[in-house]
Amino acid sequence: MKSFLVQTALFLGVSLLFLLLSPVLKEGINPYLFQILMVMGINITLAISLTLINGITGQFSIGHAGFMALGAYGAGGFSVFLGPKLAALGLPPLVSQNLWLVVSILFGGGLAALAGLIIGMPTLRLRGDYLAIATLGFGEIIRVVITNLDFVGGARGLIGIPTTTNFFWVYFVCLLCGILVYRLSHTPRGLALSAVREDEIAATSIGINTTRYKVAAFITGAFFAGVAGGLFAHFFGYINPQSFTFVKSFELVVMIVLGGLGSITGAVVGAVLLTLLPEFLRAPQAFIPLPLPEFLTGFLGQVSQYRLLIYSLLLIVLMLTRPQGIFGRREFSLARFLGRKGTEP
């Protein structure tokens, strides 16, 4: 009971911190850094939601960008087409903006979750690499269909989405997603997910309905990917099918593999590293407010040209030397980090 109170207080405290930081960061740091910060938050949510499917439940999906696309187009389309109606209600702008954002990203998330259900029910019977290629196929089909939908702009993309995403919502969603996935994986029900990952036949034999759990994980993951997509759409105000190719899906896979497949903190670290690293290489001056020697920025600029090459090399070397990623399956714990003996949850 006490720990529940502490946790709730912590949750509210962190949320409040995000709320307070939100206007400060928007005005206080340069727009380039702010954009990176927002993209990072969106990537964290995506990575955590993919961890639930790939890491914790062990179903290897490489079509996550498809769910993100559905969320982005669902939420963006919702705002674009129904936006004028809400504006006519005459609510104060602060309320209407945030309310509208939440409703539309929930709509986007719902759409992605629905797709997760439709796609998950049949495909999750497949195993391993077959599932991987089927999810890849679905992700691509979603993108091709969107490209052919004229009312959302087709290949030109959807414009005119209100840019209402702020720091608070992005990181609040990260927090929610992280807590949810963590709680989910540490309840008896969540242990069933791990059981499905470890051995499906054994899990079935102790009475776990593996299909149900797999689909449930898939839907939850898809929902958060959709929400992240919605935030993405409402941050940039413009979306294009080209942002959601399987290259994006691969990028997300690299993030969670780098951090450690199955670890939530690993997913966060992976997302942060892989968002910051390319930006840092491209423009180190924006991160370090000191006059940097020219040869250094020049060198980093050279490196940044080959960043995608470096990613792929990193992935191969990582798999060959440390296939379990940075954290393995464990979570980062301060106690263990400081050398004390951590208590297992």
Binding site: I62, D129, I133, G137, V144, V253, Y306, L309, S312, L320
Partner: protein, 303 residues
């Protein structure tokens, strides 16, 4: 005539898919791995062909252009296939399948972005090394020398492949390894060598496909292997993965369907932009309805 023409076009692109699909199916047969990098080997084949042909034409070397180009692509791709297997896959052979799959994705991305760094990201024009001559000028059907070359080359390569697999001791060893690597090893088969050679053979076929696409659709670029790679994989699954004739049939079917979809008009709106979704839709349908593919498990013939 229009219909026949579409069939010819479909078979032409289908042959290319078929050759790539064979590589997927062979590697899957011996390693149970979707070799994601296979589509990029095909890209390397096209690039090798491009540089060889350009060099021959520029320095006017006294060499038969087409044959030398083809040979160069085959050799480079074969070596590349063996190298990929040795460096990236062999050390991980006893790890979980997912580790291998992620490594394959890594190798694929490495070849794509390495290709961009090495060759530059812009599309290149493959030099015309096979003249664009119509073989039957009397009819309205257009069967070019290029298409004829593609068909002939495909048949020759298939003939060689099937001869190797069915009539040599190497082929018998390959079939044994795909049946059961451990038992094959007990029977004195050098499993590592066979797996290596399987990669070489699959990659050689992909290299040939790369040159073929170079002569028929001359725009080549470092990311060109991604989509045909996945489509060819779909073709392999369609025919029943691990099954050699299945891969060929699957490739031809996907090529034909794609061509037909592109030609369909509904209410004045062309469906050609849905072309790329066709292979995926078929793939998913097959996986759901008959995961063993067209040539089901009972007749399966693994390499």
């Amino acid at each position: 005539m229009e219909f026949l023409q579409q069939i010819l076009n479909g078979l032409s692109i289908g042959s290319i898919y078929a050759l790539i699909a064979l590589g997927y199916t062979m590697v899957y047969g011996v390693l149970r791995l979707i070799n994601f990098a296979h589509g990029d080997v095909y890209m390397i084949g096209a690039m090798t062909g491009f540089y060889t042909a350009t060099a021959i034409m520029k320095y006017q070397l006294p060499l038969p252009v087409f044959l030398t180009t083809l040979l160069a692509a085959l050799v480079v791709c074969g070596l590349l296939g063996a190298l990929i297997e040795r460096v990236a896959y062999r050390p991980l052979r006893n790890h979980p399948k997912i580790t291998l799959l992620i490594t394959a994705i890594g190798v694929s991305l490495f070849l794509e972005y390495g290709g961009q760094a090495l060759f530059g990201p812009d599309p290149k024009n493959f030099p015309q090394i096979v003249p664009d001559r119509d073989m039957i000028p009397a009819s309205s059907l257009s069967l070019t020398l290029i298409d004829t070359t593609i068909f002939a080359l495909t048949l020759v390569l298939l003939g060689i492949l099937f001869w190797i697999v069915h009539h040599t001791s190497l082929g018998r060893a390959m079939r044994a390894v795909s049946e059961n690597p451990r038992n094959a090893a007990l029977m004195g088969v050098n499993v590592n060598r066979i797996i290596s050679l399987t990669f070489v053979m699959g990659s050689v076929l992909a290299g040939a496909a790369g040159v073929m696409v170079g002569i028929s659709r001359p725009k080549i670029e470092p990311l060109m292997g991604i989509l045909p790679g996945i489509k060819a994989f779909a073709a392999a699954v369609l025919g029943g993965i691990g099954n050699l004739p299945g891969a060929v049939v699957g490739g031809l079917i996907i090529g034909l369907l794609e061509t037909f979809i592109s030609a369909v008009n509904i209410g004045g709106k062309s469906l050609s932009s849905y072309r790329d979704a066709v292979a995926f839709a078929i793939l998913i349908l097959i996986l759901l309805v008959k995961p063993t593919g067209l040539f089901g498990k009972s007749t399966i013939e693994k390499v």
